[in-house]
């Protein structure tokens, strides 16, 4: 007697290319399986890590009986917002001093990008966003669903496994005036290839001369070089010239708060008055999406950032994570060199951040998954954070086999 479903004709959607890797990994029963898919940090023992300073902050929060669970304001936890702006823009940022930055708490990097994009789709005059090729798999959908049209600019050069700088400049030069440009602040995902500071300066000059609007995605501040300030240089360079930009920040990786969904969107405006009006419009985007952001993760971040001892502790733990990844890069490179695996593998130690764009093709990747139970995205990206000294040999074997048997 049940009605027919109005959704009866719906087909099953494909697995998300990145998160689907973990789904497949979980199904595999092999004892040597290795998950190098999603960019979540793992310890040498292959375990997820909750930072000590985060546990401390958690305890402080749980023990504070005066804390309540009331709704945050639509813009989120105000302390958190101020501290986040300082973190990315610098405590002495002139834009902050002039009160012309509006910062709203969002659902990690994804949420910050989506809210920013929805705002642009409603209030900006040029609804095209240029994203680098390649980029994080979720970027195109975020922008498309927000109402922007997505175009690409050249970024990665497969021949050098480095930056296609000329191609980048040409494509941005050819973009219509005023177009939005997505920039990975540091540790480009998936390639790990970042512009040098000189190259950033040229990008900045070109963009400002064409009135292109920078939209930074900063998901790895502190994770790339181990220094929070160094990893923020690209953003600060743009802010220093007095122009406007958007920045999406995530604390998923650098504070290990992945599932808590903590992030912030900052829009640097020309004046205080503009920033205030922009903020009021951001609220209209947020309210019909989820009303207000979740309190827990942001409270942890604010607790840490506002206490100088805890902040210092955090920077040390962050550097340790970044150092472990750098060491994994070296170990993998050394192992492949020692093995005599054909090809130039120096990009493994040149690339920066959590990921290595190996240069392996999708057939080779499928081979490695089938024969060696190595799980990674089909574009050849591996998460170095998922490697340990114990598992480097197995990965080396797999890469060697894939390259020699499948060319």
């Amino acid at each position: 007697m049940d009605s027919e479903s109005v959704f009866g004709k719906i087909v099953r959607a494909p697995e998300d290319p990145i998160l689907g890797v973990t789904v497949a990994y979980n199904k595999d029963t092999s004892p040597v399986k290795l998950n190098l898919g999603v960019g979540a940090y793992r310890t040498e023992e292959g375990k997820p890590l909750v930072l000590n300073v985060v546990r401390k902050a958690e305890q402080l929060l749980v023990n504070d009986q005066s804390r309540v669970k009331e709704y945050l304001p639509i813009v989120g936890l105000v302390d958190f917002n101020k501290l986040s702006a300082k973190l990315i823009l610098g405590a002495d940022s002139p834009a902050i001093k002039d009160n012309r930055v509006t910062t709203v708490q969002c659902l990690s990097g994804t949420g910050s990008l989506r809210v920013g994009a929805e705002f642009l789709a409603r209030h900006y005059h040029q609804l095209t966003i240029y994203i680098p090729q390649p980029t994080w798999g979720n970027h195109p959908k975020v922008f498309t669903l927000a109402g922007l049209s997505v175009k690409t600019y050249r970024y990665y050069d497969p021949a050098t496994r480095g930056l296609n700088f000329q191609g980048l400049l040409e494509d941005l030069r050819a973009a219509p005036s005023g177009a939005i440009v997505l920039l990975h602040a540091c540790a480009h995902n998936p390639t790990g290839v970042d512009p040098t500071l000189e190259q950033w300066e040229q990008i900045r000059q070109l963009m400002r001369s064409k009135g292109l609007l920078p939209f930074f995605d900063s998901a790895y501040q502190g994770f790339a070089s181990g220094s929070l300030d160094a990893d923020a240089q690209s953003v600060r360079m743009f802010v220093a010239d007095g122009g406007e930009c958007l920045v999406a920040q995530s604390y998923a990786k650098n504070m290990g708060l992945y599932g808590e969904r903590v992030g912030a969107l900052s829009i640097v405006c020309k004046t205080e008055d503009v920033a205030s009006r922009v903020e009021s419009q951001l609220k209209l985007v947020i309210r019909p999406m989820y009303s207000s952001p979740p309190i827990h993760g942001a409270s942890i971040v604010a607790t840490i950032l506002k206490d100088s001892t805890m902040y210092k502790e955090w920077t040390l733990e962050l550097k340790a994570m970044a150092d472990r990844i750098i060491s994994m890069r070296q170990q993998l490179f050394d192992a492949l060199s020692a093995r005599g695996t054909p090809g130039d593998w120096s990009h493994i130690i040149k690339q920066i951040g959590m990921f290595t764009f190996t240069g392996l093709n999708s057939e080779q990747v499928a081979f490695m998954t089938k024969e060696y139970h190595i799980y990674m995205t089909s574009d050849g990206r591996i998460s170095m954070a998922g490697l340990s000294s114990k598992t480097v040999p197995h990965l080396t074997d797999a890469i060697h086999a894939a390259v020699t048997r499948m060319g």
Partner: protein, 424 residues
């Protein structure tokens, strides 16, 4: 640092390199947005220095001292969680355990639909997030459909379906004359809507009116909706809060399930578990079979991924810790009953106070209505007087959040309401 001086040197040459376009703001033409009608009330309240001020605006529970409450069961759950759980990403569909427990609450512990795996369900960002995901889903798969929204409703419902680009219509609900349900007009609207329309229904404790259909009326509504092939979407933000008993508050949903509707449902733990700021909820869609449920769930995830990737873990962990532990669940049920009872007590007190003051008007609706809100019948002008003269804050539609009423302020509130209405 060498790098910094290099940058500032280059930047100081900017005027020669850059065009004039970027010198002015891109956002010159951005208008200041109007304040949210509900959340703006609390902002105004907080800014008021008067010692007599009363906040009966936003629907957040307060104890008899006017203080926010964290439930004991929640505190205990948090103690157990802190220091033990890791913070890995949840799957896109959220915490499986939390979703399972949440479906049991709405569909019944022994629901055949749960057994048969016919429910597509994902963890959502509280009730708002559940409604928004559904609205986006509706737009994607039934782009030409319309959503019928009751008059009045929670103001954000309109924003949600508008931002999802779904055409909105309204249906009669509240009868200002009786301050009750306009049942005849409601049934007419259901009959007159084109077949296969989507209807937004408040499962219990209608917001803002507190007016719920009776069981008999729900049965008739269900029948008529079925006859027209409409899609019923329930927003259940107050399960447990209306009567004090979550099973009783799910009555409407159970009636529809029995009648064979393939409904959609938004659930929230903001009020009934006091988890407001944690943003915990669930969106479910009942399908014909397991295969369809898998397909629908996968599509819901496709909508969540470009919005926030996956939902926050902490609040979900609190919910699953409580509902998954017999003792904690019992404690929760007791605390929910306690909150509902206090509100029912305040309804009685407010009504009695007004009657004792000799008000010429009838205030029966205060105790007839159910849940967190009382639709007082006050006009916007009367509400403004309450705010300006008595520092009493509520939304201009005359909605009083009974959760903000205490034994300490009910007399003051009654007096003020009497003063602004006595010459009506």
């Amino acid at each position: 640092m060498a790098m910094r001086s290099l940058i500032s040197e280059r930047v100081s040459c900017r005027s020669s390199v850059l065009g004039a376009r970027w010198m002015s703001s891109w956002w010159r033409n951005v208008e200041p947005a109007p304040k949210d009608p509900i959340l703006g009330v609390t902002e105004a309240f907080l800014a008021d220095p008067s010692p007599d001020k009363v906040n009966v605006g936003v629907g957040a529970y307060r104890d008899d001292n006017g203080k926010p409450v964290v439930l004991e069961c929640v505190r205990e759950a948090e103690r157990r969680i802190a220091g033990t759980a890791n913070m890995e990403y949840l799957p896109m569909g959220g915490s499986v355990k939390m979703v399972e427990e949440t479906l049991k609450l709405a569909y019944g512990d022994n629901s055949e639909f749960i057994k048969d795996k016919r429910i597509a369900a994902v963890q959502s960002l509280s009730g708002t997030g559940a409604c928004r995901l559904f609205a986006d889903f509706q737009k994607r798969f039934h782009p030409d459909s319309q959503i019928y929204i009751p008059v009045p409703t929670w103001s954000n419902h309109h924003n949600i379906w508008r931002d999802a680009h779904v055409t909105q219509r309204t249906f009669h609900y509240y009868h200002p004359g009786t301050k009750g349900l306009d049942f005849a007009a409601l049934m007419d609207d259901i009959k007159n809507a084109p077949n296969g329309s989507f209807f937004l229904l408040h499962a219990c404790a209608h917001n803002p009116t507190g007016v719920d259909p009776s069981e008999e009326q729900w049965k008739e509504i269900s029948y008529q909706i079925k006859a027209k092939g409409h899609f019923p979407f329930f927003d259940m933000a107050y399960q447990g809060f209306a009567s004090g008993d979550p099973e009783r508050d799910a009555k409407a949903i159970r009636i529809f399930l029995k009648d064979g509707h393939l409904l959609g449902l938004a659930q929230s733990y903001a009020k009934n578990m006091g988890l407001y700021g944690q943003r915990v909820g669930c969106l479910s869609v009942l399908c014909e079979d397991e295969k369809q449920a898998v397909a629908v769930k996968s599509q819901l995830q496709q909508l969540a991924r470009p919005m926030y990737s996956n939902p926050p873990v902490h609040g979900a962990l609190i919910v699953s810790t409580i509902l998954g532990d017999a003792e904690l669940k019992k404690l929760w049920l007791k605390e929910v009953q306690g909150m509902a009872d206090r509100i029912i007590g305040m309804r009685t007190a407010l009504r009695e106070n007004l009657e004792e003051l000799g008000s010429p008007l009838s205030w029966k609706h205060i105790t007839n209505q159910i849940g967190m809100f009382c639709y007082s019948g006050l006009t916007p002008e009367q509400v403004d007087r309450l705010t300006n003269e008595y520092h009493i804050y509520m939304t201009r539609n005359g909605r009083i959040s009974m959760a903000g009423v205490t034994t300490g302020n009910v007399g003051y509130l009654a007096n003020a309401v009497h003063e602004v209405t006595k010459s009506t």
